[in-house]
Symmetry: C2
Subunit: 204 residues, 2 copies
């Protein structure tokens, strides 16, 4: 897609918000309401949607279900995608069973850890494997995305391994940013940095 990352990110959030509205049974939503939920302006929302060729804005606003459907299809969010989690410490194992992922079409189909001890003790209904089986499992299950929850010092190594196994999208929760080949999409989510950002904004 040739949209900017900021636009794609906002459109994805609009898609998520539409899902929440749809559940409540509300049929129409204004660009102002979408903007409010996003912390953006109505103008930005209408512009972002129009960049995807979506203009179905009536006096009542956008029709929630059809906008969600159109957005889902244009952003390729309609299908299901398979993901795995590498690093089954407390965060990784919490994410294994994170229900929101499944609701949104992201199926966690495997967890990996190098500690056999951890693999034996973990309680989850997701299948877990030693890292050595990564290549086979990823291929066999058709896993497209990898979530990294190992300590920072192992993050790059895991990213290399995942992309080497054909994974095309990486969500990295470690505090160390990973670099990936051009064709791979990666997002770094560093919790500690979010707290730092808040602290810096708050000042002394």
């Amino acid at each position: 897609m040739d949209l900017s990352n900021n636009t794609i990110e906002r459109l994805c959030r609009i898609f998520g918000h539409l899902g929440a509205i749809e559940k409540t049974g509300v049929e129409f939503v204004s660009s102002a309401e979408l903007a409010g939920a996003l912390g953006a302006t109505s103008y930005t929302v209408r512009k972002d949607l129009s960049l995807l060729g979506i203009t179905g804005f009536t006096r009542k606003g956008y029709e929630v279900s059809s906008l969600k459907k159109e957005l889902g299809s244009k952003l390729r969010l309609a299908g299901r995608r398979k993901a795995c989690i590498v690093g089954l410490g407390r965060l990784g194992s919490a994410l294994l069973d994170y229900e929101k992922f499944q609701e949104d079409g992201f199926e966690i189909v495997a967890g990996f850890d190098r500690s056999v001890n951890k693999l034996e003790r973990i309680r989850t209904h997701i299948e877990v494997y030693p890292v050595g089986s990564m290549k086979d499992v990823i291929k066999e299950k058709g896993i497209e995305m990898g979530i990294i929850t190992v300590p920072g010092e192992h993050a790059q190594e895991v990213a290399d391994r995942l992309t080497g196994c054909g994974v095309r999208g990486i969500l990295n929760f470690s505090p160390v940013e990973v670099s990936v080949p051009d064709k791979v999409v990666s997002v770094n989510m560093d919790f500690t940095n979010a707290l730092r950002f808040i602290a810096a904004k708050l000042g002394g």
Copy 2:
């Protein structure tokens, strides 16, 4: 601070990266190396730092410890800040003991949940309380920041409660964005949206 959010965010990441370099014992770092770790250009790194009045760039690069110290002091990241976590499900309880927070000066000093059952069963060395004691505990312990790990439908209510108790910074992990008063700083970290963004970038 009158810097843009993007600049502050990058400066915070530089601070984090300097901490990692410092641990390895390396004394100097180039703007190119910092840029590489950030996925930015050297020009951006030098410009961001110069916006804070930091220009200590020699032929060898920046001196790691003194740059970290200066950055920490200008971004007000040098002191310790107290935070609490609201919602002790799997994610919240995983974050209670997330060591990186403590290493970085963020002390999680309390956890809250409305389920007494959960409070009784949780295993952590952090003190946990029913939500009803939030006001007293936040005041008594001098908690400045709140981390929200409740389901989306309760996120706004929790954000209101936290800011009502005097919390000035909010890190929200629920999939629903929260709105806060102007003087409060909030960051929304929506995992599912990160996966959506990756999926949209990957395409079909």
